[in-house]
Amino acid sequence: MDIGFILINATIVACIYGLIAVAVSITWSSLGLLNLSYGFIFSFAGYGAYLAARMLSDHPIVVLTAGILVGALGGIIICMLVFIPLHDKPNFTIRGMIGTLAISLIGSQCLLWYFGPKNKALPEVFGYWKVSIGNTVLTSDKIGIIVCSILMLVFVVLWMKSSRRGLEIRAMMMNPHAASIVGIGIRKTGFYVMAITGGMAGLSAVLLSQTYYIAPFSGLTPLIKGVSIALCGGLGSVQGAVIAAIILGITEALTSRLLGGQYVLITQFLVIITILIIRPRGIAGLLDKAREQ
C-alpha cells in the first residue's frame, strides 16, 4: 500500500467536494439560504460543458469556461426562482431549503427529459501525459483537477478579500441588518453570491466528469457530500469547509483502499456524525449569532 497514491486520491476528492462545500458555506452565511440545488447546477453545468465541447470546440479552456459560466447561469436562475421571491418572507430558511430542493429535482427531471438517460462523457480536458514522483504516478487529469480547483478557490477567496463586491458579501455574511444600513442591497448581492458559487459548482462538475460521466442525476452525490462537508466544517466558514473536505477526502481514500469502495459513504458519515457529536457547531463554525434567522 503506498501512501502517495492515497494522499493524491484524498486530495482530489477534497478538491472537488471542497469546491461545492465552500459554495454551500458562502451561500448559507451571506444569504441565509441552505442551497440544495447545487445538484441541479452541477448536472446543468456538466451538460453545458458537454454541449460546448460538441458545438464549439473541445479545447480545454472552452470546456472549463463553459462549465463555469453555465454553472453561474444556473446559480442566477436559482436566485431568481427561489431567493428573490422568498427571501423576505417568514420562515425563509425552511422555505428556501425546500424551494431549492424542488428546483433541483424539477431541473434534473428536465435534463433527463431533454438529454435522455444515457450518460455523456466530456473530452479529456487535461490531455494524457503523466508525471511520476518516486514510485507514485500522477496522471494529467489528477494534476489538472487539483490545480484547477485550488486556483478557483484561491481566486474566490482573494476576490472576497479584495474587491468591493467581496466586501459587500462579507459584510452581509456578518450582519445582514447592518449591511442594508450601509447601502448594500440584499437582492443584488444575492445575484453575485449565487453566480460565483454556481461557477464553483460548475467547475467541480467539469472536474468530476474527468473520472465519471455526466448524467441528469449525477449531481446528487456531490450535493449530499458537499452539504455534509459544509455542515461538518461549520456552516458559514470557508476555512472549516476546506479542513472538513481534507478530512473526508482522506477518509474516502483510506476506506476505498483498505475496506473497499462500497463502504465509503458509511465511513464518511460516521466521521461526520462523530465530529458533529463532539463539536456541534462544526470544525470552525461561528459561535457568534451572526446568522441566527
Binding site: D88, M174, I181, G183, I184, K188, D288
Partner: protein, 235 residues
C-alpha cells in the same frame, strides 16, 4: 433653506405593535436637531421608519423632494439601500457592525456611492482626524474593539459619504461620560452646509445649546418644535 426631510403622518411598528403614531416632522438643510425621549418611545423606530427598516409602515416621507415613504406590511430593509444611496447616513445604536471586518474595511463599506468609493482614501483620513484613537487600530477586527471604539467606527462609517441627512442614534449610549462627550463633539464638528442631522439622545445635557432645536419624543409622538416653521408660527 430647503427642506431635507418632510415626514407626514408616519406610522410604523413591528407585527401587531404600533410604535409610531401619525408623526409629522420637517427638517431643513443646515439644521442640527436633537431628538430626546426615553427608552421605548420610538426614537430608533422613527429612524428605521425613515430608512424603511421597520416591520411595517405607512405615511409620506419626502427626502430631498423624493417620496421614500410607502405603505408596506412586510419586507423590512428591501428598499433601504435605495434610500441610503439617496444620501442617508445612519449611525445605528448598539452593535450594528460587522464583527469580522477590520476597521479599515469597515470604513470602506460605508463608502457606498461611486464617488465616495473613489475618494475613500481621503475620506478615511478625514474620519481618522475626527477619531484619533482609530488610527492605531486600522487593521484590527472590529470585534476586538472596546465599546467606545466601536461607536466611533459606526459613526465614522456614516461619515464616509456626503450624506444629505445624518441620523445618529444615541451616540453616547453606554459610553463613559468622557468618551461619550468626545463622540458627541465629533458629531457636532461635522459641517452641515447642505445637509441636516438628527441626533437621538437621552442625555439632554449633552445636547443643550449645541443643537438648533430639541424635539421631545413620547409614546410615538413628537412634542415640541417639530419643525422650525411650526415653532415660528407658534411664537
Amino acid at each position: 433653506m430647503s427642506e431635507i426631510l418632510n415626514v407626514q403622518g408616519l406610522s410604523a411598528g413591528y407585527g401587531p405593535l404600533r410604535v409610531i403614531h401619525d408623526l409629522d416632522l420637517i427638517v431643513s438643510s443646515g439644521e442640527r436637531v436633537g431628538l430626546v425621549g426615553l427608552n421605548g418611545h420610538g426614537k430608533t423606530t422613527l429612524f428605521y421608519g425613515i430608512a424603511g427598516l421597520t416591520g411595517w409602515q405607512r405615511g409620506s416621507i419626502l427626502f430631498n423632494g423624493n417620496q421614500i415613504g410607502r405603505t408596506r406590511s412586510q419586507g423590512p430593509g428591501r428598499y433601504t439601500h435605495h434610500i441610503v444611496r439617496q444620501g442617508l447616513a445612519i449611525m445605528p445604536q448598539g452593535d450594528e457592525i460587522f464583527h469580522g471586518l477590520t476597521v479599515e474595511e469597515h470604513l470602506d463599506s460605508g463608502a457606498f456611492t461611486k464617488q465616495a468609493w473613489k475618494t475613500r482614501k481621503q475620506r478615511k483620513e478625514q474620519v481618522l482626524d475626527l477619531f484619533e484613537p482609530l488610527k492605531m487600530l486600522l487593521k484590527t477586527p472590529v470585534a476586538r474593539l472596546s465599546g467606545g471604539e466601536r461607536r466611533m467606527v459606526s459613526i465614522g462609517r456614516g461619515l464616509m459619504t456626503d450624506a444629505k441627512l445624518y441620523l445618529a442614534d444615541e451616540p453616547s449610549l453606554g459610553l463613559a461620560p468622557k468618551i461619550g462627550k468626545g463622540v458627541m463633539e465629533a458629531l457636532l464638528k461635522i459641517e452641515l452646509s447642505n445637509s441636516a442631522m438628527i441626533i437621538a439622545e437621552q442625555n439632554v445635557a449633552l445636547l443643550e445649546g449645541k443643537v438648533d432645536r430639541v424635539i421631545g419624543m413620547h409614546a410615538g409622538k413628537l412634542k415640541g418644535e417639530a419643525s422650525s416653521a411650526l415653532s415660528m408660527h407658534l411664537k
